[in-house]
């Protein structure tokens, strides 16, 4: 019968689609696992003792990013290149998380903002849409906002750990970020809502710097730093 034949063909297409999604889900799960492991490594910096061996932690995270590269390389083989946005939702969340982790590593290493190009290099994907599996601009920005909130926590904990200069540097960095975001005309979506949270991070860090200033702890350290 004509109709049933037609539906059999359609089911073929649907099945192929579902198989692709299944494959994607599996790779994404391993990516999430790796991302969680990197997170666990980097969260160590908040512990009092963690401040000494930041380079070692970054090193270890970098090794894990090797696995991320392999997994992302595998992910992009799971579906036709021009259907990125068809399946975007599947990896969107983990990709934002990975952007944050890469940005955190870069910050810890060099106290700079990772560029979109740099983060795609770390992840082994493309920076631009037309080159293939790329990093969507909003996912990049979302990851950067997570970094801001992590840094406000870091500012607090570095004081607890006795490092009084780091908050000052974080403050400068976050202010730059804030000015950057103010150049953007964001839609009223989830990114906008997350950006609204940035001002609390800015304020929190300013208060840390204030606490240090009023006790002269910033100068003290500055002197100490000068002496070194």
């Amino acid at each position: 019968m004509a109709v049933s034949q037609m539906f059999i063909t359609l089911q073929g297409v649907l099945t192929a689609d579902q198989d692709i999604r299944e494959e994607i889900r599996k790779v994404v799960q391993t990516l999430e696992q790796t991302a969680r492991e990197i997170l666990t490594v980097l969260q160590g910096v908040h512990q009092g003792s963690g401040f000494q061996d930041i380079p070692k932690k970054c090193q270890k995270a970098r090794e894990n990013f090797g696995s991320v590269k392999t997994q992302l390389a595998s992910l992009k083989t799971k579906f036709p290149a021009d259907q990125y946005y068809r399946f975007h939702e599947h990896w969107r969340f983990v990709l934002q998380r990975l952007v944050f982790l890469a940005a955190f590593v870069i910050y810890l290493e060099s106290e700079t903002l990772v560029t979109r190009e740099a983060v795609t290099e770390i992840l082994g994907i493309e920076a631009h849409r037309d080159k293939g599996f790329h990093l969507d601009i909003e996912d990049y920005l979302s990851g950067v906002l997570t970094l801001a909130s992590e840094l406000s926590r870091l500012a607090v904990n570095s004081v607890t750990a006795g490092d009084y200069t780091r908050p000052l540097r974080i403050s400068t960095f976050i202010n730059e970020l804030d000015s950057g975001f103010r150049l953007l005309n964001l839609k009223n979506d989830s990114l906008r809502k997350r950006y609204d949270g940035l001002k609390y991070d800015v304020k929190k860090i300013e208060e840390v710097v204030y606490d240090l200033s009023i006790r002269g702890l910033n100068k003290e350290e500055a002197v100490a730093a000068g002496e070194k």
Partner: protein, 271 residues
């Protein structure tokens, strides 16, 4: 009215009707049991909450032991209620009724892990929690009822109930809120060691939960936000202690506190 009367009479003796009468019994029995479990769960929740309140009253060594003993007694009472749940579950698939008593068990985990932290400064494991939920049936009451029907069960019989890993995780997630309260309380009481211990401990739990991430059920992920906030509060408290401590050499701190205590004594003396 024009109702069919004969039909009814036929039905009442039909095999289908008799068959459904057994269903009626089965369903009612199940629902009644469910209801009893909900009530037990509410009791468990309330008493666990009160135990937590009791434990927050520990602020210094002298009353510590006393309160710990009292909390142990309270938890024993809670466990007696859990025993009743276990009795209801004897021969049943506990997962069938799990939703009825899960809230109570979670609150119990919260209470028992809080007590455990206070005693040992470490996290009670799910195995340790469950070890306390194995109950012997030697109570007088049970022996009495048992001895009439199946006497052979008299001594062997134990009841037990297992807290599931998810119940455990949810209880521990709530524990972090209590730990945060304990931390702020400590700062207010001039105890400057406990906050740092707590922040260390809470960070470990937080790292643990982030490691689990979204691999657990939705209810667990849902609590991550509150957990993160509690951690932030504790980290902020430690930060403040450190910053204000920076204005005075460390070895002087003890002096400061003893001075303060003297002062307070003085005040008290006046009133």
């Amino acid at each position: 009215g024009q109702r069919r009367e004969e039909n009814e009479n036929i039905n009442s003796s039909s095999p289908v009707i008799n068959y459904f009468k057994t269903f009626q019994l089965e369903l009612d029995t199940k629902h009644d049991k469910y209801e009893r479990l909900v009530k037990l769960s509410r009791d468990i929740t309330i008493e666990s909450k009160r135990t937590i309140f009791l434990l927050h009253r520990i602020t210094s060594a002298p009353n510590g032991e006393e309160i710990l003993t009292e909390s142990e007694a309270k938890l024993d009472a809670v466990r007696q209620k859990i025993k009743q749940v276990a009795q209801e579950m004897k021969g049943e698939d506990m997962h069938q009724f799990h939703r009825a008593f899960s809230p109570g068990l979670q609150e119990y985990v919260e209470a028992v892990s809080f007590q455990y932290f206070i005693k040992t400064r470490s996290l009670v494991s799910v195995e340790e929690v469950n070890k306390q939920l194995v109950f012997a049936a030697e109570d007088k009451e049970e022996v009495k009822t048992t001895s009439t029907s199946d006497a052979q069960n008299n001594q062997l019989c134990t009841w037990s109930l297992k807290v599931t890993p998810v119940d455990y995780l949810l209880g521990v997630a709530d524990l972090t809120g209590e730990l945060m309260r304990m931390c702020i309380n400590s700062v207010g009481n001039g105890d400057i060691d406990t906050p740092f211990e707590l922040s260390q401990f809470l960070r470990q739990i937080y790292d643990g939960f982030s490691y689990i991430g979204n691999t657990g059920p939705y209810e667990v992920s849902k609590k991550l936000y509150t957990l993160k906030q509690s951690l932030a509060k504790v980290e902020n408290a430690c930060y403040t202690l450190k910053v204000r401590g920076s204005e005075i050499p460390k070895h002087m701190l003890a002096d400061v506190f003893s001075t303060k205590t003297e002062m307070i004594d003085q005040e008290e003396g006046l009133s």
